[in-house]
């Protein structure tokens, strides 16, 4: 179903927060293209943390051709694989068609513009743990990752699928670091 530039502008203007704006744009992309769009990466974390962690762009996993047409018609201009609307301060990164997480763990949020899909909390958490443990992260970014993980563990620790979490944490060799973050969260909640 085509979505006009005016509809997108109205949706962006009506959003009460940046995370809500991310959700509306994800839903409109899905509606405009008819393709499943999954919000991933820092933008998904921003929604889960209600804006406490911030990202520059909205990372969307979906087939590119129809998505490119849609964002172009909404006034976004390309910069590499990122599509930018400077006046809104929004970048959309059309990551590609392949979702590497588990589809069963996706959170579907029903918005006034249709459903928007967010990558599962377990996949986001383990990816951050893996980046922290196995990747040589720059100090500033490392601090940001630690904050993201602390919030995800504290806020969603009891809402995750433990079996799946254990499976991907083992696969990605992050069981030790996950246990440390959980211990730290428990200690903090006791204080």
């Amino acid at each position: 179903m085509p979505v006009t530039r005016k509809e997108v502008e109205d949706a962006v203007a009506s959003a009460r927060s940046k995370p809500e704006r991310i959700q509306f744009l994800g839903a409109l992309l899905e509606r405009a293209t008819g393709d499943e769009a999954v919000i991933v990466g820092g933008s998904a974390v921003e929604v889960y943390t209600s804006g406490r962690t911030s990202t520059m762009d909205i990372d969307v996993v979906m087939p590119r051709p129809r998505a490119v047409k849609a964002v172009e018609s909404w006034g976004f201009v390309p910069s590499g694989r990122v599509w930018r609307r400077k006046d809104w301060g929004i970048d959309i990164d059309l990551v590609g068609p392949r979702f590497t997480g588990n589809r069963q763990k996706i959170l579907v949020v029903e918005t006034p513009y249709g459903p928007v899909r967010l990558a599962g909390i377990e996949d986001l958490l383990v990816k951050r743990l893996a980046e922290l443990k196995h990747w040589p992260t720059a100090p500033g970014w490392r601090e940001s990752l630690v904050t993201q993980i602390e919030i995800l563990v504290s806020e969603y620790g009891d809402k995750m699928d433990e079996e799946y979490l254990a499976f991907i944490a083992r696969r990605d060799d992050v069981l030790d670091i996950l246990a440390d973050f959980r211990r730290h969260a428990r200690d903090r909640s006791r204080r």
């Binding site: 009460r16 927060s17 995370p19 809500e20 959700q23 943390t49 209600s50 804006g51 406490r52 962690t53 520059m56 762009d57 910069s79 590499g80 694989r81 990122v82 970048d91 990164d93 069963q104 763990k105 996706i106 959170l107 579907v108 949020v109 029903e110 918005t111 006034p112 249709g114 459903p115 928007v116 899909r117 599962g120 990816k127 893996a130 980046e131 922290l132 443990k133 196995h134 990747w135 040589p136 992260t137 720059a138 100090p139 490392r142 630690v146 904050t147 602390e150 919030i151 504290s154 806020e155 809402k159 995750m160 699928d161 433990e162 990605d172 030790d176 670091i177 730290h184 903090r188 204080r191």
Partner: protein
């Protein structure tokens, strides 16, 4: 239906509509009307109401005027961990609380984390390389060494 339903849950509860209705209630932070449950689950209201009544008779949901809620915390935990579907209004309503808790976590955070305690696994690092490496248009690299 916009959601990918867990086949195990569908087998367990016996119907996609039933699982969808349960999933919507499991993710909700407050009672929802039958109409709202139907809208979020993407099912016809008449079917949603029929399921709600059936689930009430089984003791899994209860009426909490003006809406409905799950009455069994174990079912909430089971369904909520396997099918996730929420309503943006509900999500946004809880956003302030979540943001406040997150602020608290950040404020109380001490520099406890020590990356040198862990041994990096190059195989996992290589698997994630494509996802972690940022194209130049997305800003400076986050890699240190």
């Amino acid at each position: 239906m916009a959601i990918n339903l867990d086949r195990g849950l569908v087998a367990l509860f016996g119907s996609e509509t039933r699982v969808s209705v349960l999933a919507v209630l499991a993710s909700a932070s407050r009672p929802l009307t039958g109409y709202r449950v139907a809208k979020i689950a993407g099912v016809q209201p008449i079917k949603a109401y029929a399921e709600l009544r059936r689930l009430r008779a089984a003791g899994l949901v209860r009426e909490a005027p003006p809406g409905w809620e799950l009455s069994d915390p174990e079912v909430r935990r089971l369904v909520g961990s396997r099918v996730r579907i929420a309503w943006s209004e509900d999500w946004e309503a809880g956003a302030r609380k979540r943001a406040r808790r997150a602020e608290q976590i950040v404020a109380e955070s001490s520099p406890w984390f020590d990356a040198s305690r862990y041994t990096p696994n190059p195989v996992v690092a290589a698997r994630y390389a494509k996802e972690i490496e940022r194209p130049p248009e997305k800003g400076p690299s986050r890699k240190s060494r």
